[in-house]
């Protein structure tokens, strides 16, 4: 019994409800938020170390043992994701304290940001397929509110698309769950895995696997990413940063979970279908990142490229590649939050969105400029920064598996990322200044600090990769050996 496992979801939910009642006082909302977020990070660290000591831990809600009850499972993979998500959302929400309009703060901005975090953490921790659906919905409902909050013509048009596509994806999810339950008669992930292995992954189960693939591909922006650039570029900085850092990564996580734990029998689906989707995603993302001049669009297409890169790790399907993908997931959450906060800040400071309309910002906002440069290097995967280690392991895995084409596409995309980011940096920060020093909008230190801390985090993950390595290896060991996971869940009950 490990009640600590429910805290990453319980704490944000409770905070969200408390904030509802604190609506009149924005200051009280902020104090409660930051306290709750800091304890959330502390709890996540505790879970990570507990998993290290005790192995995979689980919590059966209400004492109902698996496979009958709903449960939360903590292994190194989910604990790492929860920790990263909590740390990133702490910094993003801390940034939003200073940048959010009063009008939105009064319309329940903070409660819904917390519900989003609760849904994300729940999705990482759950060990039950239907519960995964529920947590996805909690996360998506909160995101519907956040994306429409504040209104405006463009945003409402984009949010209609966003909501429509996600409702359709959720419906597919439900259908896939119904098929799965009808076929194997259980929703507990470990139990599903056992039964799928017993029955062999025949045509029916493979078809179900593909439906799940479509669902998660829609959520993660893998190949089916057409909705993503529009809806990620319309909301203000902090909301876009929360979306870019967390939402697609939950889809990627779910894909890794289902295809390493449950549907790992069919090589055609994993290597050919998922591999092809990853390549097409990267190519499409690269075209978008080069083609657009709107900095928010360029940033959104960078999200898509990263998703494709992580999924290459899944398509290669060996331990080295998994390791790379886990490192890259952690890195990507941090760096995308950083990128979207900087982009949001640039739009706020200049009032313009196109790279052709901005120049010489380095004279006005030097720290911001150098942070963007750091982000550029991190995204491209330059050695001391966090992106490098993930790219290296995915590369090693691809060489080991002989997937040289995937390797080439993955590494070629780094160059495109570097080019697209340098284009922003050179056009917007170099050249003649467009804003007078007297007229420039203030960018106070308290807004800069959360961004700078994210920058420190990305350097820290790169330099401290050695310290992270045991946790990541542990996560990868469970992915490569589903029996470890199954034993931890069903061991005592006996399948």
């Amino acid at each position: 019994m490990n009640n600590i496992l429910v805290l990453p979801m319980l704490l944000p939910l409770l905070t969200g409800f408390v904030l509802f009642f604190l609506r009149p006082s924005v200051k009280a909302q902020k104090i409660v938020s930051i306290l709750s977020l800091l304890s959330l990070v502390a709890v996540s660290v505790r879970i990570l170390f507990k998993v290290r000591e005790d192995g995979i831990i689980r919590l059966d809600f209400g004492g109902w043992e698996p496979p009958f009850g709903i449960l939360f499972v903590g292994d190194s993979f989910s604990a790492l994701m929860v920790l990263t998500a909590s740390a990133v959302s702490t910094l993003v929400i801390a940034y939003s304290f200073t940048s959010t309009e009063r009008r939105m703060e009064n319309m329940f901005f903070y409660p819904f940001a917390f519900f989003l975090v609760a849904g994300v953490n729940g999705s990482f921790l759950t060990g039950d397929m239907f519960n995964l659906f529920v947590c996805f919905e909690v996360m998506l409902l909160a995101s519907y509110v956040l994306i429409t909050l504040g209104g405006g013509k463009v945003r409402l048009a984009e949010s209609m698309k966003y909501i429509a596509i996600n409702v359709v994806a959720s419906w597919f999810f439900l259908v896939a769950l119904a098929f799965l339950y009808g076929t194997v008669g259980t929703l507990n992930m470990a139990h599903i895995s056992v039964r799928v292995a017993e029955a062999g992954q025949g045509p029916l189960l493979s078809a179900i696997a593909v439906v799940f693939l479509i669902v998660f591909a829609l959520k993660a922006g893998l190949f089916l990413y057409f909705w993503l650039p529009g809806s990620y570029s319309s909301p203000p900085g902090p909301i876009a940063a929360l979306f870019a850092a967390l939402l697609t990564k939950v889809g990627v996580y779910a894909m890794f979970r289902t295809f390493t734990l449950i549907f790992y029998h069919d090589e055609f689906i994993i290597q050919t279908i998922i591999g092809t989707m990853a390549v097409l995603t990267i190519i499409g993302g690269c075209l978008g990142a080069i083609a657009y001049t709107d900095i928010r669009q360029i940033a959104s297409y960078n999200v898509i490229i990263a998703v494709g890169f992580m999924i290459i790790g899944l398509a290669v399907f060996n331990e080295e590649a998994f390791k790379g993908s886990v490192f890259y997931l952690i890195h990507d959450m941090v760096i995308k939050a950083l990128l979207f906060l900087i982009v949001g800040a640039m739009v706020y400071l200049t009032g313009k969105t196109k790279i052709t309309e901005m120049s010489g910002l380095i004279r006005n906002y030097p720290v911001l400029g150098w942070l963007l440069f750091l982000t550029t290097l991190g995204l491209a995967g330059i050695p001391p920064l966090s992106g490098f280690i993930g790219k290296m392991y995915v590369g090693l895995g691809a060489v080991e598996g002989g997937n040289y084409f995937l390797l080439f596409i993955g590494f070629a995309s780094s160059l495109v990322v570097l080019y697209s980011m340098l284009r922003i940096f050179m056009n917007c920060f170099w050249g003649e200044t467009i804003i007078n020093r007297e007229d420039q909008r203030l960018f106070p230190a308290r807004r800069l600090i959360p961004i700078a801390l994210l920058g420190v985090l990305t350097v820290g993950i790169g330099v401290g990769a050695q310290a992270l390595e045991p946790f990541v290896s542990d996560a990868v060991r469970v992915m490569a050996n589903p029996d470890l996971y199954i034993d931890a869940i069903l061991g005592e009950v006996g399948s």
Binding site: M1, N3, L10, L14, F17, L59, G62
Partner: protein, 140 residues
């Protein structure tokens, strides 16, 4: 609706109480029979919605002066806290208990902590349904 709603108004005054009673009955019977917090909450909120339809929003607000968004948040919080109580007592999260008590009028009665959870669900449903109906009606 303005001229000819005497019958509607008179009937509503009686029917609302029947609906409310039915809602409570559904809520309580949910422990062993079909029913429970969600259905009970839906029926209870239908009584409120009927009131809003027949009388206008201001009149109903004089009688039921609550912010229904807060009721929804409060309900969800009760449900969560009832689960947390189990965790505080050292049981797995959401564990429920029950016992038999000899109460003055009712005699031997089964009391279960899951009722608290269900009450939270009911309040959430009421709050959400009424909020949705009110925000839709405002735009017209």
């Amino acid at each position: 609706m303005k001229e000819n709603d005497v019958i509607l108004r008179t009937v509503t005054r009686v029917v609302v109480f029947i609906i409310l009673t039915f809602g409570v009955e559904l809520f309580l019977s949910g422990h062993h029979n079909p029913g429970g917090g969600f259905v009970g909450g839906l029926v209870l909120s239908s009584a409120l919605v009927l009131l809003y339809v027949v009388f206008d929003i201001e009149t109903v607000h004089q009688g039921v002066p609550f912010d229904f968004r807060k009721i929804a948040a409060f309900g969800a919080m009760i449900s969560l806290l009832s689960g947390t109580a189990a965790a505080v007592l050292g049981k797995p999260f959401l564990t429920q208990g029950f016992g038999y008590f000899d109460l003055p009028i009712f005699g031997l009665t089964e009391l279960a902590t899951v009722t608290v959870f269900e009450a939270g669900v009911a309040l959430t449903v009421i709050g959400t349904v009424v909020t949705i109906i009110l925000s839709i009606s405002k735009d017209v």
